[in-house]
């Protein structure tokens, strides 16, 4: 056991690049220390912001950069910050969402473990932009080491004067609290996160009101993902125009993709948005192709909640619009690769189990529907499916989609709908022959 995740990154390539930035120092074993972070230019953006900029200027810069949320929904970050009412007499809050738990996603953990000050600096800038003086990071409780690391970094940041009263003599006070969750995926959904942070069960809230108007303690609140915030200092240092040199017109900047499943080199890779999915899977620098000489069967491109792609669809850019144009989503950037031996029904069985387990139970379609779906899918995979089961599943999905309080319901059904659309024959085979036709030999070595 070591403190660091042994995950492969492309830090060396990022360090050579003119523009990639998030992973530049993640292989430096001292980067987590404040002195090293400062030596690498850390906290300069925060100093510039708090001593010489106005909140509106910060928001404008981030808006112009085209940065979009990396937590899954891709909402423009600067625009979101702009929703916080300027004249509210209430306290405002900035919360960094570090509840990372969507199957396939393992990027935020690496940033927090190895470059925790980058997260603090990004949060500080966001806090200043919305007039927040007490910011929170909500880290999933299972990440004991990340929590420790982040707490250590916060202490250092206070000692060096990056946080606390009258930061750098600017007159601005900023405190930071590291909060840990209790083990519930739904708490990554921002309104459930707010309830959880308030000491309640992690149930999603009905919107409106949106958190920017009435969030934590009914005060204006902004929730942003770890990776989103970690990009902000670079935008301040190098400017919105620089940021836009990476990516596509509507998907600016770079993004970390977590590549998992049946590739030879699973890992976390930072590439510009719009980067070719095919290259990421097959190039020696990244995934290096499918392991054991097998062929590709399907890809889930954006985390467990996104629709499947078949091999003929992987020649696609990794950006919000391109993935949408082939019927899927960028999501959290978690690319899950399935080889030819893998059964699609089995895969769905694994996915729906997760969503059923994590449903908060507040709305009936999601609570009941995910349970029925799990039962039906499991019985088909086990060769006990009945004629009509596939249509039943499809109907159930239709009855959940768009009818729930939070997007978890949609997240549960979107991969299922696409799996039926793209692989209907395979589902039917299970029912007709009362067995699974795939080797599914997922042996641990």
């Amino acid at each position: 056991m070591s403190f660091y995740s042994p995950v492969i990154t492309n830090a060396a390539e990022v360090a050579r690049s003119e523009s990639l930035h998030l992973f530049r120092y993640v292989e430096d074993p001292d980067q987590y220390k404040v002195e090293t972070f400062e030596k690498h230019g850390g906290y300069e953006a925060w100093k510039k912001v708090v001593t010489s900029m106005k909140p509106d200027q910060v928001i404008a810069e981030v808006k112009n950069s085209g940065l979009r949320g990396r937590g899954g929904a891709g909402f423009p970050t600067g625009m979101k910050w702009g929703f916080v009412p300027k004249d509210s007499p209430k306290a405002r809050y900035l919360i960094c969402n570090a509840d990372e738990s969507e199957p396939g996603t393992c990027k935020d953990r690496v940033i927090m473990e190895r470059d925790p000050h980058a997260v603090i600096e990004g949060m500080a800038i966001g806090a200043f932009a919305i007039g927040c003086h007490r910011m929170f990071i909500y880290i999933r409780g299972e990440f004991g080491h990340c929590i420790e690391r982040m707490e250590g970094a916060v202490k250092e940041a206070y000692t060096r004067g990056h946080l606390g009263k009258n930061v750098y003599g600017s007159g601005y006070d900023l405190d930071m609290v590291v909060h840990s969750g209790g083990g519930a995926y739904i708490c990554g959904e921002e309104t459930a996160l707010l309830n959880s942070l308030e000491g309640e069960k992690g149930l999603s809230r009905i919107r409106p009101p949106f958190p920017a108007i009435a969030g934590l303690y009914a005060s204006p609140t902004i929730v942003n993902n770890v990776e989103t915030l970690a990009a902000v200092p670079h935008i301040i240092n190098r400017g919105a125009d620089w940021y836009k040199t990476m990516g596509t017109e509507k998907s600016a900047g770079s993004k970390i993709f977590s590549l998992s499943g049946h590739v030879k080199r699973p890992g976390n890779y930072e590439v510009p948005l719009g980067f070719s999915l095919k290259t990421l899977i097959y190039d020696e620098k990244y995934g290096a192709g499918i392991r054991d000489g097998k062929k590709l069967k399907a890809v889930i491109p954006g985390g467990a909640s996104t629709p499947f792609l078949t091999p003929d669809m992987v020649d696609v850019g990794l950006d919000y619009e391109s993935l949408q144009s082939v019927g899927s989503m960028l999501g959290s950037g978690a690319i899950i690769v399935l080889d030819e031996d893998t059964c699609i029904v089995w895969t769905i069985m694994k996915l729906i189990h997760f969503f059923r387990h994590e449903s908060c139970g507040k709305c009936t379609p999601c609570r009941e529907g995910t349970g029925w779906l799990e039962q039906l899918v499991t019985r088909i995979e086990h060769g006990e499916g009945r004629p009509g089961d596939i249509d039943k599943i499809d109907d159930l999905c239709g009855n959940i989609l768009g009818r729930t309080i939070c997007p978890l319901g949609d997240a549960a059904v979107m991969p299922i709908q696409s799996a039926i659309k793209l692989f209907r024959d395979e589902w039917q085979y299970h029912i007709d022959h009362k067995k699974c036709p795939c080797p599914n030999n997922h042996e641990f070595k």
Partner: protein, 158 residues
């Protein structure tokens, strides 16, 4: 008192960080769990006395989260991720291997109270699958050989 002086002090420190008292519930439960290894009504009562948050509110929140179990577990809680990225690389057979080695079924504790084996949802180690978490430590890119070594080491330490 079940909670030690140190835990009580830690909870009081956390209380200062929040504009509203109730927010301390999860941190307090975490501190108690780390000390005791499980939770109980008595512990909720003690947290309530320390934080002045009503007992029912603490009990209600605690039941929602998976990390605050009431039943005692073995000294080492082995949590194997069974979600998709890990399953693709053999999580099910990893669980089978552990069951065989420990002589227990998933969900059970060894008679010497050393190991409890459970399977859990994604732990953010998908690109280093298969993986397990033992108490707070992550063990990734697992192989049979590694699992053997890890169990030996823990047994030796116990």
């Amino acid at each position: 008192m079940i909670l030690t002086e140190e835990s009580v002090k830690a909870i009081k420190e956390r209380l200062k960080q929040y504009p509203q008292r109730k927010s301390v519930i999860l941190p307090a439960l975490t501190i108690a769990y780390r000390q005791v290894g499980h939770l109980s009504d008595e512990i909720y009562q003690e947290i309530s006395r320390v934080t002045k948050v009503p007992y029912v509110e603490i009990a209600e929140a605690a039941t929602f989260y998976t990390m605050f179990p009431k039943e005692p577990r073995g000294k080492y809680l082995i949590q194997v991720c069974h979600n998709i990225s890990c399953a693709l690389l053999g999580a099910d057979s990893l669980i089978g291997y552990l069951e065989e080695k420990l002589g227990i079924k998933k969900g059970e504790t060894t008679p010497d109270n050393l190991f409890t084996l459970i399977s859990v949802e994604c732990l953010g180690s998908c690109a280093t699958a298969p993986m397990m978490q033992i108490n707070y430590d992550f063990y990734e890119n697992l192989t049979r050989e590694k699992v053997d070594a890890i169990l030996e080491e823990l047994k030796a330490k116990a």
